[in-house]
Structures are given as structure tokens and as C-alpha cells.
Symmetry: C2
Subunit: 235 residues, 2 copies
DNA sequence: CGCGAGATTGATGGTAATCAACGAACGTGG
DNA sequence: CCACGTTCGTTGATTACCATCAATCTCGCG
């Protein structure tokens, strides 16, 4: 494992404040593994054996029931996932698959729990991370229940534009069907939602979207800090 | 504050394992307050000043944006709320109002954070509680994204029936409009959803619902432990 | 009895899912 | 280099689901 990968992980809020010795022991107990695109890393209903960290690549969290499927989150370096299941030694509620070639660090759940018991700063960081994850989920719920599809798309565009440096050009780093599922709609409907945003200066060219009238778009989207977040991204 | 109220709070998983002295100090730092129905206890965007515990009565969590409103959770004794905001000293993402006359124990956020730092067992319990809250939110998201309104109602009926002792008679302990909002639909649509479930033995009489064919209803609802939960209720 | 709040029912329009067809982009193999 | 096939995205037609508006109904209560 490369030194700057370790540094990047160390810099995560989850690990930043813990003791150096427990951090190194934790990392060394993990396996860094490469996966090609489209590999299912974990499956809902399985017992949580490992804490996963996306070191490189891109991972989609998704969930299914009764033959239906939806994307619940999109992760990129350096994100952790399924912390909550690991913590309480429970089954996963979501599945995960790679969207592109990825490197994943997998730390045995038992080791995470032992480290948590040994290092108060780590336990504290876990609480903060779980609180963040919970609040993100609440935002997502509000987004879904209080907005239409086109509004969710408009706000996603504004948020992503900000994340990408306000160049008024948003790059969609994954398939549009994945974005559609993340936003809680079908691919067909995402197309129509893009078309509906055209009057507000939204121009789609393949994976790139130009926002020629960001202020008009914002007027339509009515972004709300209590949903779209000042703290974290919703991916 | 009555002795058995304290005992009930002590029995919460959040407080069960902490030290006796820190528990009593925490409780004593709190204010037990009575509220009539319909009082807004906290408002989103406000800074989290107190951890709240529903000792008696009933509390609705809700959220608004752009003039729209939705119910995000329904709490009854003995539930805690807004732990996540308290923990990280952030603003509330949800509002709360009493649905009936209620007694609420309010513990200053600063005291909660200090106690957490002093009692590792309490911090550990907070992590577990946050993990539970997060997983509940994920279940809620899956419920919303993967099911229709009638399916959500059917599963809610089955879940609530189980909570109430499988008497095949579900009592709705709040207004139907509140249930509708909780399930992500309008009151009108809830009525129609009830009508749609009639072929599966669902008979509504005011606030009571008889399930005359629970197995047929289950066949329609397709309950999924990864959504409807074996651990906790979604209220 | 009459009032008012909540629940229900009906009528209508909007939003989204589904099914089907077409088109563009890309990679492969001839 | 081009023909072909596959995949993804878009568009159109249709249907299902849900929101809104309006009217009626029920029930509890003054």
C-alpha cells in the first residue's frame, strides 16, 4: 500500500484524530484489493464482515426488493461505507458494486470494534461520522418527499457545479441511468427532466452539462441548505 | 420527576450501560417540561441546544421546504430525538411538535457532550444509537423509493399489527393525515389506498383497522426484513 | 341542533413508470 | 477502413400513480 494512500486515509475525519499506533495497526489489519468494474462487493442480508474504504475508483450503493432496484449512494475516494452495520455487528441493508476499476481497503469488522474500544478518539470520530451519515440520509429523505424529479435534478446540478468549482459546466462521472436511479427516477424520466430544465439554461452534451443561466436555474430549484447541505456532499 | 420515569429512561439502550453517577448527573441537568398538544418544540435551522426525550405523550418530527411539509417520524415514550444534531453541535434538520399533551425531558447539549467525553460506555451507546437511527433512515429511503403508496400502507399495517400483539386489529394512534404524511402521501390518497386494500381483508372503522386476511395482505405487501426491520420499529 | 374538523369520495390534471422504437457512440471483427 | 452489433440515451405513446380541488359525509362537541 502506497504511502500517500495511507496519508489520504489518515486524513479522513474518521481517522484523523485517532492515535498513530492504533491507526497503523488498523490499516495493517486490512486488505487492499483491486476490483474490475461491475463487481458486487457486498450484498444486502450478508453479515458485516469488513469495513470498506474506497481508495481508488468508484462504488455504487444500491438496494433491492421485490425485483425492484434503486441506487442509494455513490462513493468516490476516499469514502468509507457500511460503518453502521460493522459497528453493531449486523447485516448490510445495502449492496455495493464497483462502477469502474477500483481499489478497496477492507478492514475486518472485529478489528474495527476492538480498535474502537481501545482508542476513545476513534470512537468519538465514529460517532461523528455516524451522525453525519444519518443527517445525510435525512436530507435525502426530505429531498425525495418534498421535491419533484425535475427539482431534484436541478438541485443536484447546482450542488455538483459547486463541488466542481462553479465553472458552470457539470461533468457527470457515471452513467445517466445511475444518476436517474440516485435521484429516484427512471432513465427516461431523467431525459425528460433535462429537457424540462432547458428553459433555465441547462444544455446537455453527453456527459457534460452547461449551466448558462445558473441564477435562473437556482430560482427554479429553490436550493435549501437544510436539504442540499453546507457540510457534506450527497454525492 | 417520578422514580419510574427515571427507571424507564435508564432502561433506554442509550442510557442502560452508562455509569450510574454520570447517568444521574445527566438527568438532573435536564428540565422535565409539560407541553399541550400542537406545540412546536424545535424548529429546523435552529441550533441544537437540548437533547430531547419523550417521557409521555407523542411527538411528530416534520420537515418543510418551499412551502411543502412532510412528517419524517413519529415518537412515543420513551424515545430520544435529535441526538445527531446535539452530538456535532449543529442545526436541526427537522422540526418537532407535540401531537398530544406531552412531557419532554430536555438535557442541555453541552452536558450531553461533556458526559460523553467522561463516560466511555455512554459514548459507545451513542454510537450504537446513531447507527440504529441511520439504518432506520436507510430503511425509510428504501421503503419510499421501492414501493408504491398502497404497498407502504400494507407493510405499515403488518408491522404495526405485530407491534400491537398480532391481534389482527390495528389501532391508529394519531390522525390519518399524519399517517398519510409519514407514509409519503396525501390524506386523500391514504383513503384510496385503504380502499385498494379492501380485497385483502383490510376493514377501516375510524381509528381502528381490522385485518381479516393477514396472509393475503402479506402476499400483497411482500414485507422485507431489510426494509421493515427485525430490530426496531419505524413508527 | 348546528357547527367544525377531519375523513372520504369524485373529478381532473400532472407527474412518473412502462413499453416500444429509434438514434448515437463505441468496440469488435472482418 | 468499414460493417456490424451492442449499449446507452433519447423520444413517443400509453398507462399507472399521485396531487389537487371540490363536494359530501361523519362524528364529536358546544
Amino acid at each position: 500500500m502506497k504511502q500517500d494512500d495511507i496519508a489520504a486515509i489518515r486524513n479522513l475525519s474518521l481517522f484523523r484524530l485517532m492515535r498513530e499506533d492504533t491507526f497503523l495497526a488498523l490499516i495493517e489489519a486490512g486488505f487492499l484489493q483491486r476490483f474490475p468494474p461491475g463487481v458486487v462487493l457486498i450484498e444486502e442480508r450478508d453479515r458485516a464482515d469488513f469495513l470498506h474504504i474506497v481508495v481508488e475508483g468508484q462504488v455504487e450503493m444500491f438496494a433491492t426488493t421485490a425485483g425492484r432496484e434503486t441506487t442509494t449512494d455513490l462513493l468516490r475516494p476516499v469514502d468509507t461505507f457500511i460503518l453502521a452495520a460493522v459497528l453493531s455487528d449486523q447485516v448490510y441493508l445495502q449492496s455495493a458494486r464497483t462502477l469502474e476499476a477500483s481499489r478497496i481497503l477492507m478492514i475486518p469488522a472485529e478489528k474495527v470494534r476492538a480498535t474502537m474500544a481501545a482508542d476513545p478518539a476513534f470512537m468519538r470520530a465514529i460517532s461523528v461520522e455516524l451522525a453525519r451519515a444519518y443527517r445525510t440520509a435525512v436530507r435525502d429523505l426530505k429531498n425525495l418527499k418534498l421535491r419533484t424529479g425535475a427539482e431534484r435534478l436541478a438541485n443536484w446540478l447546482l450542488r455538483t457545479n459547486a463541488e466542481q468549482g462553479n465553472r458552470n459546466r457539470v461533468e457527470i462521472a457515471f452513467e445517466k441511468r445511475t444518476l436517474a436511479s440516485r435521484l429516484g427516477m427512471t432513465p427516461e424520466n431523467l431525459s425528460r427532466a433535462f429537457a424540462a430544465l432547458r428553459p433555465y439554461g441547462v444544455k446537455v452534451k453527453g456527459p457534460e452539462v452547461d449551466l448558462t443561466q445558473p441564477q435562473a436555474l437556482a430560482e427554479f430549484a429553490k436550493p435549501d441548505p437544510m436539504i442540499d447541505g453546507c457540510e457534506e456532499n450527497l454525492s
